[in-house]
């Protein structure tokens, strides 16, 4: 019997999805539907950043409403370096990750002194400060943002959407796997235990603050990486990436998908963006319907979409027991 802290994913299922994703651009090109290659790249990028938020929110119990700060600053590192002539992804992407990590260390070391709602608000405060900072940087586009002359240079032809797609797929799959291993590692167990009972962990002798801070910084770093990818995908970096509504919608993705489920961030990001895409194709009032759907999910599925299979199985089981 596995511990309840152990989170597994079905190997067959993941490999199946991966194979489908690998085959997708070929299919899309064959059917002349290249638009969907870009859309899927975007979905994967948001799945990565939402999963990084789920690491601190779902597994670490740190409800951060400032995650967009790291997402956006990652994008800005790419944009700013490119403006100064540094186009190589091999420099700017690791630099973005490092920036995200250091930034999260700094913000976390102040924010983690507070609890609960106060933590939510102080993370929000820091993200808003960064937002207004970038709005004021007129040299880097200010309000309008910064458009990239080209995608970061990696050695592949990045202007080809399929190539870029495969790069995004590789990076997202790798880092989602890293997050998965992290959650199931000793470190991940400690983080989950701290979420359950912080005082107990403190009493046993774990340096709780340091664990939480490191977890926060790792999530920040991964979010920054996702930001670099999004900057390249859109060829545009804008302060809106750092606005609190962006943090809010990342949080909504995680809650929608399932807080503390491995697939929560991925599922939430994909469903939310797909709903936006599909609903906005039918009506200009799509936000109304999106709101109604979100409301139904909260009311009917308290633990998010990822809890659906479990719920389904448990009702089937009780029905079976009754029969």
């Amino acid at each position: 019997m596995q511990s309840s802290l152990h989170h597994t994913i079905s190997r067959k299922f993941s490999i199946g999805i991966l194979l489908l994703l690998i085959a997708f651009p070929l299919l899309a090109t064959y059917l002349a539907q290249e638009f969907y290659i870009g859309l899927l790249s975007r979905l994967m990028i948001f799945a990565l950043v939402a999963s990084s938020l789920n690491l601190i929110l779902g597994f670490g119990g740190m409800i951060s409403l400032g995650h967009a700060a790291f997402f956006g600053s990652g994008a800005y590192v790419v944009g700013i370096l490119m403006q100064h002539g540094i186009t190589s992804a091999w420099i700017s992407w690791p630099a973005a990750m490092l920036t995200g990590f250091m930034l999260a260390l700094a913000i976390g070391s102040v924010s983690l002194r507070t609890r609960g709602v106060y933590f939510i608000m102080i993370t929000l405060a820091f993200a808003q400060m960064l937002y207004f900072l970038f709005v004021s940087l007129k040299n880097y586009g200010g309000d309008d943002g910064l458009s990239l002359a080209q995608r970061s240079v990696t050695g592949l032809d990045m202007s080809n959407d399929s190539n870029f797609y495969y790069l995004v797929l590789t990076i997202c799959a790798t880092f989602l796997f890293v997050l998965y291993r992290l959650i199931n590692s000793r470190f991940g167990r400690v983080i989950q235990a701290i979420k359950e009972n912080e005082t107990r962990m403190e009493a046993i002798g774990y340096p709780v603050f340091r664990y939480k801070l490191l977890c926060f910084a790792i999530a920040g770093s991964v979010a920054s990486l996702a930001g670099t990818l999004l900057a390249n995908q859109n060829m545009l970096v804008s302060p809106n990436l750092l606005h609190w509504t962006q943090s809010g919608s990342l949080m909504v993705m995680v809650i929608l998908g399932g807080v503390g489920y491995l697939s929560g961030g991925i599922l939430g990001a994909v469903v939310m963006l797909m709903l936006e895409e599909i609903l906005s194709g039918y009506t200009i009032h799509w936000q109304l319907y999106l709101g109604i759907i979100l409301m139904l999910v909260v009311m009917l599925l308290p633990n998010g979409l990822a809890s659906l299979p479990q719920k389904f199985m448990s009702t089937k089981k009780t029905q079976g027991d009754q029969a």
């Binding site: 929110l57 409800i63 102040v110 002194r113 507070t114 609890r115 609960g116 709602v117 106060y118 939510i120 608000m121 102080i122 929000l124 405060a125 820091f126 808003q128 400060m129 207004f132 900072l133 709005v135 004021s136 940087l137 007129k138 200010g142 609190w244 509504t245 809010g248 949080m251 909504v252 809650i255 929608l256 807080v259 009032h285 799509w286 936000q287 109304l288 999106l290 709101g291 109604i292 759907i293 979100l294 409301m295 999910v297 909260v298 009311m299 308290p302």
Partner: protein
Amino acid sequence: MNITLLLEHGLNGLQFGLMLFLLAAGLTLIFGIMDFINLAHGSLYMAGAYFAASFTAMTGSFWLGLLAAVIATALLGVILEVVIFRHLYQRDHLSHVLATFALILIFNEGARMIWGAQPLMLNIPPQLARPVELLPDFYYSSFRLFIIATGLAVAGLLYFVVTKTRIGMLVRAGASNREMAVTMGINIKLVFTLLFAFGAALCAIAGALLGSILAVQVGMGESILILAFVVIVIGGIGSIRGALVGALLVGLVDTLSKTLLPGALKLLMPMEMAANLGPALASILIYVLMAAVLFYKPQGLFPARG
């Protein structure tokens, strides 16, 4: 920099702070007592402003419009509480966030469908259209003075209700220890519903009054919602006194830094740099204020639960 300018901006800050207080008072009570995060509080403010604009156009009188808007928004608050929020109190904060985020989307799009995408104008009542001379050669908008008076009156009334009346005692009991209050046999369900109606009514007043100065438009709730949250976090969640102090602080800091900081910076650095940096620094200042307060007092200035 002269003294009348300072006075004018100070009064503007006071006026804005008091309106923030109207929003923050409801928010902090709902939060402090029910432990419910209501992101849709800003939507009630928006609804109040739209109602006021519609009813004013219908009746031809600002005052009737205001009254009708307050009643309608309070009813809306009751409906929301009974239909949706009541089922969420037992759930965690994250469910509150998702549900009320969904409500924001529904309200915004609903308002756009009913009233259109263009901002509405809500004219200030003719009685208060002329500025008054407060000091020799210092004229100030009488409508803003009216807002200040209203804010102070509501703050006074709230203070009286919360500290001197029986319902206020129940509210305070709920804020400091909810379980104990329930155990002592308080009909907490009714208190919750009433509180929601009351919070919504305060939103409507703020929405109608600020809506007359600014514009009535979709999304007006979100920008002010964050400020209201900043206010209650600075003040200490669940505390009316904290909300008042926090609101005045945020209102004054926000208004004064936006109007005075760019000018002050120009004295210190080149013109162009100051023009860029000033507005940004002004917007950042309240967040710096909040972070600083939380750093030294992680529970806010006047924590309700001690």
